[in-house]
């Protein structure tokens, strides 16, 4: 029997999608633990004891200084009780030991603002997620196109999926043309907002926020760190889909599950 995949779902300080994120991990075959950030900061829970780290969506610290801005400060400066190691140090060690990291929405914003995405080097903020061009929070379902050349572990074998976006700050911007070239050229751009034909699009509302190159999600060079604005954990069952009463052909397992299934398969070495 393969070893169990242990997933850690971090919550606290305004995160609010932890329950469905843990459910998706469990549904994919992992053992999921929901930990409050304070459980990690006081040393009660060690990130190193897990294989799959999940940063769910929400409004960390109210997004008061910009989405996940305070979280990026917390990850870099708050230390684990009884030592000098920061949360960021713990996450980096976790990654170096081969773990998978998934950030959704506010979790993606945290990964980008802390410099864990796109990486190269880790720790430097090379991109950001800012106000949608509409300057509004919007809840709507989007069509997504997976980049088949991406090293992303989570999107392997996928082509087109539907998921909801629910954000006010999802417009992806890089600090320079070079960063954008790095992301596009190395296929770190794992996921694009797409039109009805499956082509990446800049047209609102198919592209709900005006992201450069229709980028909906990116990974690091190893493909083991992945962040995306759409919510895979919000589409675990057919009845989550907005058209489920019209389309009786939808599979019972929602598209979002594929992201978690891929993570668990990878960790099981399947």
């Amino acid at each position: 029997m393969a070893h169990p995949v242990k997933a850690l779902v971090i919550t606290g300080y305004g995160t609010n999608c932890e329950t469905e994120m843990a459910y998706a991990c469990t549904h994919a075959g992992a053992q999921a633990t929901i930990a409050h950030l304070s459980d990690i900061l006081n040393g009660q829970i060690r990130i190193g004891n897990y294989h799959f780290l999940n940063l769910p969506g929400g409004f960390l610290d109210g997004d008061d200084l910009g989405s996940a801005q305070v979280e990026s400060v917390r990850l870099k400066h708050a230390t684990i009780q009884g030592g000098t190691r920061t949360l960021y140090d713990e996450i980096l060690s976790f990654f170096e030991r081969g773990g998978l990291i998934l950030g959704v929405c506010n979790g993606f914003q945290a990964l980008v603002k802390t410099g864990l995405l796109p990486g190269n080097p880790f720790g430097a903020r090379r991109a950001t997620l800012t106000f949608n061009d509409s300057a509004r929070f919007e809840d709507r379902w989007v069509a997504l196109k997976v980049n088949p050349h991406s090293p992303c572990v989570f999107t392997k074998g996928l082509d087109r999926i539907s998921l909801p976006v629910r954000h006010g700050e999802g417009k992806f911007i890089t600090d320079s043309e070079d960063t954008l070239k790095d992301i596009m050229g190395n296929h770190l751009s794992a996921l694009f907002y797409a039109d009805a034909d499956g082509h990446p699009t800049q047209t609102y509302p198919d592209n709900p926020n005006g992201s450069a190159f229709a980028i909906a999600g990116i990974c690091d060079a190893t493909g083991r760190v992945f962040g995306l604005m759409p919510h895979p954990e919000a589409y675990t069952h057919a009845t989550n889909h907005p058209l489920w009463t019209r389309r009786k052909d939808l599979p019972e397992r929602g598209d979002g599950m594929a992201i978690f299934d891929n993570a668990v398969s990878y960790l099981k070495g399947v």
Binding site: G12, G14, E20, Y23, G62, V70, K113, R140, W141, T245
Partner: protein, 981 residues
């Protein structure tokens, strides 16, 4: 010395926030030519030495932003408008900024946030100030400064620190004075007590037994301000529902009857009867006793539901008022029993037209501003709390100009047992410690309970406004749910209206007394008097009873999870409500007098039949054009603008969303969610509201509101054997007075609405499990008086056994048959159609509950069997609107023959299209299920047409001529255009 940090977008980037504000200003000032507007974040740090590196890391996103410290960031503008909070107003951004700086610097540096708007436009200072006042700042809670570039270059930082507060103390007042002096005392302190009530307090104070007990505590014969304020709060209309509990003499023609308490007679009384008749199938668990109603969900979980209003604060500060409304009602289910996990919100707003273009009465904000502020407040309150907003509606009427109505509702789920105890029962033992957890106390919201028990007037206290902080509350709920499951407390309740006075006062009835040490609660700033500490409605606080043996573990977990908790007293069995401050007793009231000493009101209600006659219903010259015009009416048009901005699927259990259909923009009848992700059992929530009918007869208004909520519930697949409802009455002052000459009629309107609720909830066997009333929704300033139409919101909650059977309102496939369930009568009184013609009307829709319930049960059976492709209720705007919505939501045409619509009496085409007869539903059915449908419904279902691939709505009139032939895209466009902000 304070430092001022400016953060703004890099020049080459698109400034989305600036563009949005530009749109808002353009709307309010269409004549101004705005070249541009740039939005800056301002952080004022009240500390002499700061490190620029810290500021840059905490406040600036270097990818998109620039930062400037103690110098202007930008130069290319004409006017600089800075908007910051006044001292003491909750500043969430400031708190987060302070926290971030603290993480980096390991130092405590007070930070205040503000916004700056740099306007490029050739305008005078007066115009810039008008823009600031009308679009950017609410001067009630915000400080606003307008500078030209030269002034801005040398401006001093604005530091809204709370200073110069009078030193805290308590006062004593002699109540042995004249009646006029008593009334004047009530008015100057916003006590909202009438003379009878003041006299009752006077008599209590003069009781020799009371005096001797007080003397033992070192108190004189005079009442303290702490006591008087606690009494006024506990006895307020807001908390005691004096009108709903009054003795009423009701006269209707020659018939007169005595009603002892509307609440006991009609609300509680009818629910008791329903429960009794349901016997073993009763789903009520805890009703009318706690902060919210509790019903069974399944054998392991119960549902908790409450809807509140936050009208008065939303009139003064729409954003803060509505935000506090939603996070406030969140604490009701959260503070019910041992505490519930919150699973959805539902919101209903009643506004005047956002296109109002006449002069506004004093102190009233433009309805568009109220609309936007309330929308944003609920957006922040709901979205940031991680609770999906799954249902709601908007109602427009000019009479909501004086006071908007902001209904906010929240449901929760809790395990049937926590540990080995039933979760819905609260228990407190003498000796349990009183713990306050969450936010700190400030002057915010003082007198909210009494203020909201009055009409909005010139001297309405601005301190009654408060701003919620959803993140502090989220941290609090994260902590308390864990503490609940660890068994660290015995009882919990929320701090809402009346603050600690109300929460502890009510909890203390469970043990038989309390002693509160008013030095103990943590304060936002010094200088609060003890009565202010007791009464403050500062947000995000829960009160708990913690057994002494658990207090250490409770406090340790609290600190670890970043929540401030304090032991502030002890529950006793002395029978006294006892408060101390600085070692002295400052309040010593008999619990029994505090809770039961309130004299009952004795009121008269006289019903006068509106006696409106049916005039002729005019036919429009062009039915197609009229249908489009109707679709664009405020009460009918698409509310997508608001709905999209509310997260309706967080928590992962979304099943039927507020927007449905092929393009995800059709108007859903009700919301369905799965609160337990590993189960297919769902919760259904719907609402009904019909204030337009109140002008004719509130009895039928109430019946229609209930029926609408129920048929919405049925349309998505809700189970008629597993439902309950909430009643939320918002009324105009129903007490006769000099300023309110028709008070007796308004009270009669209230009586009739109650009679209808009792009659119809019994007929539907749908028990009322909780509710609320807000009785003074009037505006009186100078010569202007505006009273809302009597408004009743009915919210239905219940269960769908398997969400996979749920149905949406959009037609599904070409060739499906369209059936109408129910008969159409000539009932256009109070209808949207007659309102569109500016005509009065007499025949208000009447509900025949017996026929309707049988229909609803049959429809439920058909839905469960999978026979129904779509179901949509007929409500505002009648059959014509219902058919158009079904067609464009499904992206298919409809071919309809009005001649087939069953009617009561002879109706014209216009009447058939726009009558609002109750209890009707339009369904679509695939051809293979037609036989089953016809067998099941018999004559109650009539086929009136079918779906087509033409993408046109084609309606044939009763004389066989096509009267409407419209492209569904153009119908949808008309429906969407009105509120396309």
């Amino acid at each position: 010395m304070a430092h001022r940090v400016e953060v703004g977008p890099k020049p080459h980037l698109f400034d989305a926030r600036g563009e949005r504000i530009k749109r808002q200003i353009r709307h309010a000032f269409p004549k101004i030519d705005l070249d541009g507007i740039c939005c800056l974040d301002i952080y004022t740090i009240d500390s002499p030495d700061i490190n620029p590196q810290w500021c840059a890391e905490a406040f600036c996103d270097p990818v998109i932003q620039d930062i400037a410290i103690d110098r202007p960031l930008k130069s290319d503008y004409d006017w600089y408008i800075e908007v910051g909070y006044k001292p003491g107003v909750t500043d969430n951004v400031g708190h987060s900024a302070q926290y971030a700086l603290g993480l980096i610097s390991a130092r405590y540096l007070p930070v205040y946030s503000a916004r700056a708007y740099l306007i490029k436009a050739d305008i005078h200072r007066k115009t810039a100030e008008a823009i600031a006042r009308e679009c950017l700042a609410n001067t009630l809670i915000q400080n606003c400064r307008v500078f030209d570039p030269a002034e801005a270059a040398v401006m001093a930082p604005y530091v809204p620190k709370v200073v110069d507060l009078t030193p805290p103390s308590y006062e004593e007042m002699d109540l042995n004075c004249s009646d006029d002096e008593l009334i004047s005392l009530s008015q100057t302190r916003t006590l909202a007590l009438n003379l009878t009530e003041l006299k009752a307090v006077q008599a209590y104070m003069n009781d020799p037994g009371v005096q001797s007990r007080r003397a033992q505590m070192g108190l004189s014969g005079m009442i303290t301000d702490v006591e008087l304020e606690a009494l006024a709060q506990t006895w307020s209309e807001h908390c005691k529902h004096k009108i709903f509990n009054a003795d009423i003499t009701y006269t209707e023609g020659s018939h007169t009857e005595q009603i002892r308490s509307l609440f006991k007679t009609y609300i509680q009384g009818s629910t008791q009867e329903i429960r009794k008749s349901k016997g073993g199938r009763d789903i009520c668990v805890s009703i009318f006793t706690d902060n919210a109603g509790v019903i069974r969900f399944n054998k392991d979980y119960n549902l908790v539901f409450k809807v509140e209003t936050h009208n008065s604060p939303s009139a003064l500060d729409p954003y803060g008022g509505a935000l506090t409304g939603i996070v406030g009602v969140n604490r009701d289910p959260f503070g019910t029993g041992m505490g519930a996990k919150l699973i959805f919100n539902t919101d209903v707003f009643c506004f005047a037209s956002p296109f109002f273009d006449r002069e506004l009465p004093p102190k009233i904000l433009h309805p568009r501003r109220i609309f936007e502020g309330v929308r944003e407040g609920v957006e922040h309150g709901g979205n940031k709390s991680g609770i999906p907003t799954v249902n709601g509606c908007l109602v427009f009427d000019e009479r909501y100009l004086g006071k908007p109505l902001v209904y906010c509702g929240t449901a929760g789920i809790m395990p049937v047992s926590v540990g080995d105890k039933p979760s819905h029962v609260k228990q407190i033992k003498p000796g349990d410690l009183i713990v306050m957890a969450g936010g700190r106390i400030g002057k915010d919201g003082i007198h909210g309970a009494t203020f909201s028990s009055e009409e909005l007037h010139e001297a309405s206290p601005t301190s009654a406004v408060q701003i919620g902080d959803p993140i502090t509350q989220k941290k609090l709920t994260d902590f308390l749910l864990r503490a609940r499951d660890l068994g660290l407390y015995r009882a919990i309740t929320d701090n809402g209206a009346g603050g600690l006075s109300s929460s502890i006062g009510e909890m203390a009835t469970l043990s038989g007394g309390c002693r509160i040490d008013l030095d103990k609660p943590p304060l936002k700033y010094q200088g609060l008097s003890p009565w202010e500490i007791l009464l403050s409605e500062a947000q995000e606080r829960m009160s708990l009873a913690v057994p002494p043996e658990q207090v250490e573990a409770f406090m340790e977990l609290s600190e670890r999870m970043g929540v401030e908790s304090s032991v502030i007293g002890v529950f006793t069995e002395t029978g006294m409500f006892h408060c101390t401050y600085a070692g002295k007793t400052v309040a010593y009231l008999d619990m029994h007098f505090l809770h039961d000493g309130l004299p009952r009101l004795d009121l008269k209600a006289i019903w006068i039949d509106a006696d409106l006659l049916d005039g002729p219903i005019p036919d429009p010259p062009d039915q197609g054009a009229k249908l489009k015009q109707m679709l664009g009416r405020l009460n009918i048009c698409s509310k997508e603008y608001i709905v999209r901005q509310y997260d309706h699927e967080v928590q992962g259990g979304s099943v039927v969303k507020p927007l449905v259909g092929v393009a995800c923009d059709g108007p859903s009848d009700a919301g369905v969610v799965r609160p337990l992700l590993d189960s297919m059992e769902g919760v259904v929530v719907s609402n009904g509201i019909a204030p337009r009918y109140s002008d004719i007869d509130t009895f039928h208004m109430a019946a229609n509101a209930l029926d609408e909520a129920i048929r919405n519930y049925i349309c998505v697949g809700g189970n008629p054997d597993h439902w309950a409802c909430l009643d939320n009455f918002c009324w105009c002052d129903p007490v006769l007075s000099r300023r309110n000459p028709d008070g007796q009629y308004k009270l009669a309107q209230l009586v009739r609405a109650n009679k209808a609720m009792a009659e119809y909830t019994k007929a539907y066997a749908c028990p009322m499990i909780s509710g609320k009333d807000s009785m003074k929704n009037d505006y009186i300033i100078g010569e202007t008086k505006i009273s809302i139409p009597p408004t009743l919101l009915v919210s239905v909650i219940g269960k769908i056994n398997d969400v996979r059977t749920a149905v949406t309102m959009d037609v599904k496939s070409p060739g499906d048959l369209i059936y109408i369930l129910g008969r159409t009568a000539r009932e256009l009184g109070g209808s949207e159609y007659l309102a569109s013609c500016a005509l009065p009307g007499g025949s208000v829709p009447k509900v025949d509950a017996g026929t309707a319930l049988a229909r609803y049960r049959r429809l439920h059976m058909a839905i469960t069997m999978g026979y129904i492709a779509s179901a949509h209720d007929i409500s505002d705007g009648g059959l014509g609107i219902c058919l158009a919505e079904k067609a464009f939501a499904g992206g298919l045409g409809l071919s309809i023959d009005l001649g087939q619509v069953p009617t009561t009496g002879s109706l014209s085409d216009t009447e058939v299209l726009y009558s609002e007869s109750a209890s009707r539903i339009v369904i679509s059915v695939a051809p293979e299920h037609v036989d089953e449908i016809e067998a099941l419904f018999g004559t109650d279902a009539r086929c009136i047409g079918k779906t087509t691939t033409t993408a046109r709505l084609t309606i044939t009139g009763r004389n066989k001529e096509v009267i409407i032939d419209q492209d569904i895209v153009s119908l949808k466009t008309a429906w969407k255009a009105t509120l396309d902000f």
